[in-house]
């Protein structure tokens, strides 16, 4: 049954849960609901968003216990009756209310060597990239990541080991490993093969299940597992 009023529970800190009544509209995203609360009921509610169209990756939150991009999640898809519970992203320190500190997430992006390792200067000719080569297909599979941290929040391995690099950073490393323009192969393999690297992954697949852009970090991490193992055995020879 459709209700005109939504019962919205927002987690604010460990013990505080505020319940708000929000008018329902035909086209309403979870972010719209949070914004309505902040603009009409409680101006002290903190949350983060920017583009509202699923490009910037800043509005992810836990919605009924599932990490989601709130700007592209229609409230009618997640309502339990007329109720919904919204909380800050899991696995990241909460700054206030629904805003989390994304620093650990981005620090791991760098720790996994998710940075460009160039080998050419501006004077060199541009290296041709074959879009159909198997390596390029692998690299392309992960480049639409918007750094929203939904996979990181979904991952039970991150929850169990806060130092684990996490699905997004490792997927980036896999993309760069397969990028013909990137020359950081040994640095990447070194970075992802440590005790907090790709071999931590238990292939639970929550990253792949919940990625809003339908990317597949689990398979990317499996790729890193294969490459690090191959390089280990080659080194031993």
């Amino acid at each position: 049954m459709k209700s005109d009023i939504l019962k919205v529970t927002i987690e604010r800190g460990a013990d505080r849960r505020d319940v708000f009544e929000v008018p329902a509209y035909d086209n309403q995203t979870v972010l719209d609901v949070v914004s309505w609360v902040q603009q009409n009921t409680d101006p002290t509610l903190s949350y983060r968003f920017a583009c509202r169209v699923g490009m910037c990756g800043s509005c992810a939150m836990m919605v009924n216990g599932v990490p989601r991009w709130t700007c592209r999640t229609h409230i009618s898809k997640v309502l339990d009756g007329n109720a919904v519970t919204i909380g800050p992203l899991r696995n990241l320190p909460v700054i206030k209310d629904l805003a989390v500190d994304m620093d650990p997430f981005f620090d791991k992006w760098v720790a996994a060597e998710g940075v460009h390792h160039g080998g050419l200067t501006r004077d060199d000719p541009i290296a041709p990239v074959d879009q159909t080569s198997p390596a390029r297909v692998e690299a392309n599979a992960g480049i639409e990541c918007i750094n929203c941290s939904v996979c990181y929040a979904a991952c039970d391995t991150v929850a169990g080991n806060p130092d684990y690099l996490g699905p997004a950073a490792l997927q980036r490393a896999w993309s760069l490993l397969n990028d013909a323009k990137d020359e950081g192969r040994s640095a990447i393999l070194e970075a992802v093969s440590g005790s907090d690297g790709c071999h931590n992954c238990h292939s639970m697949g929550s990253c792949t299940t919940y990625c809003p852009n339908e990317l597949d970090p689990m398979s990317a991490i499996a790729g890193l597992k294969r490459e690090t193992a191959k390089s280990f055995f080659k080194r031993g020879r």
Binding site: G65, D156, M204, S206, T209, M218, S219, A222, G223, R226
Partner: protein
């Protein structure tokens, strides 16, 4: 209740497969010391071993044995699944095909098994 909610939010097939693999492994790990202890009686106390073996004729123990075979089968297939998933860069249709073939061969094997007993 919060923990239960956490589990339902993660209960997708891959996560359940992971859980089944872990729990079956744990079950087998708990069983193995007992298994070896009973086997060791063949050397130390054959009469007591025979007593244990007679126990396996009772219905309840047969049911537990079924559970044991189930754990073993689930854990074996879980391991094969993991090895295939992580070591073979298969595409999604290839994975579906492999799973279907495994299921079909399991079905045929089960049919033969049921004819045999």
């Amino acid at each position: 209740m919060k923990a239960a909610q956490g589990i339902t939010s993660r209960a997708h097939p891959l996560w359940l497969a992971y859980m089944l693999h872990r729990l079956s492994g744990l079950g087998l790990a708990l069983f193995l010391p007992f298994h070896f202890w009973v086997l060791s009686m063949a050397m130390t106390d054959p009469a007591r071993l025979d007593g244990f073996l007679r126990l396996t004729d009772t219905g309840l123990v047969k049911l537990v044995e079924f559970g044991l075979v189930f754990l073993l089968a689930v854990h074996l297939f879980g391991g094969l699944r993991l090895i295939a998933m992580e070591w073979l860069p298969w595409s999604a249709p290839q994975k579906t095909l492999a799973a279907s073939v495994a299921a079909l061969s399991f079905l045929i094997a089960a049919l033969f098994f049921m004819k045999a007993i």
